[in-house]
Amino acid sequence: MAGSYDRALTVFSPDGHLFQVDYALEAVRKGSCAVGVRGADVVVLGVEKKSVLKLQDERTVKKICMLDEHVCLAFAGLSADARVLINKARIECQSHRLTVEDSVSIEYITRYIAGVQQKYTQSGGVRPFGISTLIMGFDSDKVPKLYQTDPSGVYSAWKANSIGRSSKTVREFLEKNYKEDMNKAESIKLAIRSLLEVVQTGAKNIEIAIMGSDSIVQRLELAEIEAVVAEIEAENEKEKEKSKPSASQ
């Protein structure tokens, strides 16, 4: 069925698919999970951190990147593609500051990244970027923003979303447990809870970044994440106790 239509990017299949783009989405699904949650006045990004190999320097493996002082990006998919795309986005943030004398709005830089991803789906001799991104930040209006892009070049705003491995499960979890206007603690807890659905090994494989309306990024220390994980586990225990049928009638 796929046959001859999946080789070249710039060829539609008879049923309207661009197979290379679909396959790029498959590559994204193989990447480690990333989750984003938008609260009342805070945005949280969480990623599943692969276990650092013994001899590897942990500091060089960062999955949550700054595009500018007030914009943060997490991705899922091919890390090398992400590096190139993030570099382009960083240049664009500065180019915007130079020509417009103002920092980028979150929507603007998302539109730019999505535009780059789209450009690579309509050109000869290239393949699409194999990454989806979650972009978060605050504009001058002090309203929290969370956007997602994918290899096809589509972008949209979200209250909470997940990309990468088991993203469907995590998104369903988020849909069930998301509440409007959560405060900072609740948003962080939701992000970590949703990641724990995927990450079996606990706090040391989770990375969290938070941004408040002051547009300053705060990365949680391992100890802080472990504290929230412990809190979540305690709550889970209580839930299990409650749902157990009572011993005496």
Binding site: K88, T99, V100, E101, S105, E107, K119, S123
Partner: protein
């Protein structure tokens, strides 16, 4: 200037930072650098347009082309926003081509541009600026800032630096950061400021403007100050005259405050007793 020449030497690839970015030459206008890049133009088919022009306008050239410009325009910030006042004479040498030129260009309901220098240059580039500002609004769902608008204009004309554009303009408006006033000219200068006067009559206007200026002027007094300053410039500068057009820029946008024939102003001010300057 070299960017222009290289644009015509190769195929249309704009200011991209990667070679891999030369995908699809029609992909213009979706990033900051190409969005605000130049409109494509025919330039004179000579090796070096700058030297060509200099050779033909230099004082020592035989039958040199005389590029003339005369105007007085002014704008100043005060507690009630910004007052913009301009004359309306267009002159070609000693010939008065028109006494009813509109030297304030309404870029959009909250941005004004003034014209001094070559009328065609000002009109064309400020209309082009208006187009860019509108595209920015459509793409970003919010109004463009005065700083960005003036930067677009100054970047546009900088590419033609030395090729004979003559434009001294003030871009003014009220945006998120409050009232703003920028001076932009065809040499590539771009300055933020509180008070500017541009044109051949600017020195005369500055004299009256600087003497009478106070940040706390009321709106009617500020409008009168602008009117008077232009009148005095038209009285002494041969290349300024006609009538005075006065605008007031407020938070809700600009307001036109009328057209005043300088002849009538002359007799009106003549009849008034002159107050002490010091």
């Amino acid at each position: 200037m070299d960017t222009l020449v290289s644009k015509y030497a190769n195929s249309a690839s704009s200011a991209s930072f990667d070679d891999a970015d030369n995908l699809g030459q029609n992909m213009v206008g979706w990033d900051a650098a190409s969005q605000f890049a130049l409109p494509a133009f025919d330039i004179p088919m000579v090796a070096n347009p700058v030297d060509f022009l200099r050779a033909h306008t230099d004082a020592s050239a035989e039958n040199r082309i005389r590029i003339q410009h005369g105007t007085t325009t002014l704008a100043f910030k005060f507690q009630g926003g910004i007052v913009v006042a301009v004359d309306s004479r267009a002159s070609g040498g000693s010939y008065i081509a028109s006494q009813t030129v509109k030297k304030v260009i309404e870029i959009n309901p909250y941005l004004l541009g003034t014209m001094a220098g070559g009328a065609a240059d000002c009109q064309y580039w400020e209309r082009e600026l208006g187009r860019r500002c509108r595209l920015y609004e459509l793409r970003n769902k919010e109004r463009i800032s005065v700083a960005a608008a003036s930067k677009i204009l100054s970047n546009m004309v900088y590419d033609y630096k030395g090729m004979g554009l003559s434009m001294g303009t003030m871009i003014t408006g009220w945006d998120k950061t409050g009232p703003q006033l920028f001076y932009v000219d065809s040499d590539g200068t771009r300055m933020r400021g509180e008070r500017f006067s541009v044109g051949s009559g600017s020195t005369f206007a500055y004299g009256v403007l600087d003497t009478g200026y106070d940040f706390n002027l009321s709106v009617p007094d500020a409008l009168e100050l602008g009117r008077r300053a232009i009148y005095h410039a038209t009285h002494r500068d041969a290349y300024s005259g006609g009538s005075v057009n006065v605008f007031h820029v407020k938070e809700t946008g600009w307001v036109f405050h009328g057209n005043f024939d300088v002849n009538d102003l002359h007799w009106e001010y003549q009849a008034q007793p002159k107050g002490p300057i010091v």
